[in-house]
């Protein structure tokens, strides 16, 4: 295969992958659980759940996590991102050990959620400020003054800076959010940097760690979450008739992207190729797609065209598939518009790991590569009552062997930010 693509750009290879999901820490544990059709959703035990409409989530227990200490989102995001990145870099054999003077030769693109001072911290500050003004912002400001740890911990650039420091990536780390498309956007930015010749490699991460009370309540207030609390493993039901919302989850994925030329030159194992990226924003509504599906369809078509392919070249679609009534209906519309009567199989990893939000696009890109590598489609579990409005092959309940050469991975975000990736087999 050529080292440049149909537009004359460097071909982008994946030479390292790392995963942290509710099914396990590491690629092997997560992929094994996914192929077994195991659910990673369970009751929330990390904090009290009284008065919450939803009391289930996908949760990752950090190694050595102390249940008595509240770990806030930025720290969770950073630790999971670091675990995934370390695995990806070890697999790629491409530096990433800054303390040993072996930095990574390219930039860091980190997809992550917005972070802020959270309730455990805010309540500590409120308790520290005694007297009648306790709990007011001026009193909390006085209590917080000089807390450099709080400042650095909650700055938007903080997590990326610490990861860049640890792994020795080059240049300013780029942190980004496009809601539920964030992980895919981080990959897209890495692909573009390599295509433009700015870098020969990029470390792309998507990480999420927002399973905490306020985030759960916020999503509940948007009526976005499943409240099937009594049976957590069966709560996430993408494309199924009785679906009623997504299940919040957390995790991280990291991909080492590299120009195929660079990977070849150093004899690296190529896990697959990033063939194309497409994006399209929606201007219709803050939480809903335009009923015409224009932005979703546009992003899917743009990704396929960017890869220099036709829809018929796609063997499998890794769905956005959140399990909300709205998303799955719109994704079905997009599939029919792009692929016509001959839709390829589509399955949703979220049926097992829940919706990992900022991590989802990156985690699902890794699963897409594994589907190509192992020739198997992961299932959509909890498929009990088919929805007649969804005439798609969703690989119901059980994995399926298949020859998979090219995968379209969909990510559609709140706020109308849609990103699709096309991944392909190693040449």
């Amino acid at each position: 295969m050529d080292l440049t693509d149909h537009l004359g750009r460097p071909v982008v290879a994946v030479t390292g992958i790392g995963l942290v999901t509710p099914l396990g820490i590491g690629v092997a544990a997560s992929w094994e659980g996914l192929l077994a059709g195991r659910s990673g959703i369970r009751r929330i035990t990390r904090f009290p759940t009284e008065h919450l409409r939803t009391t289930i989530a996908g949760q990752v227990d950090l190694p050595d996590e102390d249940p008595a200490r509240a770990v806030c989102s930025p720290e969770r995001v950073e630790r999971m991102a670091a675990l995934a990145a370390a695995e990806a870099l070890a697999g790629a054999g491409l530096g990433g050990r800054a303390e040993q003077g072996m930095g990574f030769p390219g930039p860091l693109f980190l997809g992550m959620p917005p972070v802020e001072v959270e309730w455990p911290q805010r309540l500590d500050l409120a308790r520290a400020g005694n007297g009648p003004a306790a709990g007011t912002y001026p009193a909390m400001v006085a209590a917080a003054t000089g807390r450099q740890d709080l400042f650095e911990g909650v700055l938007f650039g903080g997590v990326g800076e610490r990861l860049a420091d640890r792994f020795g990536t080059q240049g300013a780390p780029i942190s980004l959010t496009t809601a539920c498309a964030t992980g895919a956007s981080s990959i897209q930015l890495g692909v573009e940097a390599i295509q433009r010749g700015e870098a020969t490699a990029a470390l792309c991460i998507g990480a999420e760690g927002s399973v905490q009370p306020e985030a759960l309540i916020r999503f509940s207030l948007l009526s976005a979450l499943s409240a099937r609390n009594e049976d957590p493993a069966r709560a996430s039901r993408p494309f199924e008739k009785t679906r009623e919302g997504f299940v919040m989850s957390e995790g991280a994925a990291a991909l080492v992207l590299e120009s195929l030329e660079s990977a070849r030159a150093r004899g690296a194992t190529v896990l697959g190729l990033l063939l194309g990226c497409g994006e399209r924003a929606d201007s219709f509504h803050r939480t809903r797609s335009n009923p015409d599906g224009g932005a979703i369809i546009g992003a899917m078509r743009a990704a396929i065209a960017d890869a220099g392919l036709q829809p018929a070249d796609i063997d499998y679609v890794n769905a956005h598939g959140t399990g909300t009534p709205e998303n799955d209906k719109m994704e079905t519309l997009g599939m029919r518009a792009v692929f016509g009567e001959a839709c390829p199989p589509i399955s949703s990893n979220k049926s097992m790991i829940g919706h990992t939000l900022s991590a989802a696009g990156a985690i699902e890109a890794v699963f897409s590569l594994l589907a190509i590598r192992d020739g198997v489609l992961p299932p959509t579990i909890n498929h009990e009552t088919p929805d007649p409005a969804i005439p798609l092959d969703v690989v119901p309940n059980v994995k399926r062997p298949a020859r998979v050469r090219r995968v379209l991975s969909n990510s559609f975000g709140f706020g109308g930010q849609n990103v699709c990736l096309v991944l392909g087999a190693a040449p």
């Binding site: 650039g157 433009r196 109308g416």
Partner: protein
Amino acid sequence: MTETIWITGLGLVSSLGEGPEVHRAALADGARAGSLPVLDEAGFAPFPIHPLPALDLDRQIPKKGDQRQMEPWQRLGTYAAGLAIDHAGARGLVADMHLIVAAGGGERDVALDEAVCAEIARLPAAEAGRVLNERLASGLRPTLFLAQLSNLLAGNISIVHGVTGSSRTFMGEESAAADAVRIAAARLAEGRAKGGARIALVGGAYAAARWDMLLLYAASGQLWRGAWAPVAARQPAGGGLVMGSVAAFLVLETESHARARGAAGIARLGPVRTAAARRRGADTAEASAARLAEGLALRPGHAVLTGATGIAAPLAAEAALLARLREAGPAPGLLRHTADLIGHGVEAAFPANLALGALAVQAGAAPQALVTGFGAWRGEALALVEPV
């Protein structure tokens, strides 16, 4: 880089007002003795801030329903984005316009936070979690969640102005904006044949009148307290930053695209370079910026618009860089700590300084503008703005 990039539209709002004229005048008059910026020194005492000007929101956000879905930060950014699109005469091009926003977080419900904190601070820790859930479940407004989400400034720009080519939101304070401009320009410069874009909207906004953000920056110990003073005058007392309400969006466009539609360039965007020193040991902000400056083609009399926050260490690094450039290269002309005019606008600071630079070269006030960014905690950036 194959295509030349023009700045064809500016949307600039600060405590001074909105639009090019008021800002061009302030830039020219900056050194005039006795001129004071617009300040609110009482509302968030002991911290002075630069407040938002009165905005006729209906002009850029015509639907009241859209205005209600946002809080001041998103409204400010959405408003300024619209000014930039209008200024570029690009209303008809929004469907294929690419968007990169540098965003912080949206406003919290401060009254709810305070009520919950006051109640729970007095409760035994064992009861706190249960009561917190109850208060939040009944007190949080659904619309506020969307108003808080960082990517929803971009989302609102898509909804209100129809910008749908693509949408990306960078996070990471000052340097997020510098990288947003750098990457938007690179994507335009690579040309359409390589999958690039031809027109983009890039920028950020910051609303200073917010206790939730003051809490974060106060934690660093770096917020200026008491009566306002210019950046230089703060240094003997240890330095400090004064938050400014600022929004700045730029319409960037390939020269060929602008010419084809008969659009005038305000200025040409030269190199945009970014880095992030660890600011530890030998890996200093000064050394990082000096590497960025290597080979920059500075012209005699170039204006310097500094992104100095007022914090001592990065200001010293910037001063050292500028001294080094003076020694090695042509003499600069006008130098402005723009934080003295409009305060420090975090994610809006770098785009605002680019906008001011574009206004300066367009007016012939300088043959070129060097824009610097030295983030409060991390991030170094340099850019050149050239005449068309």
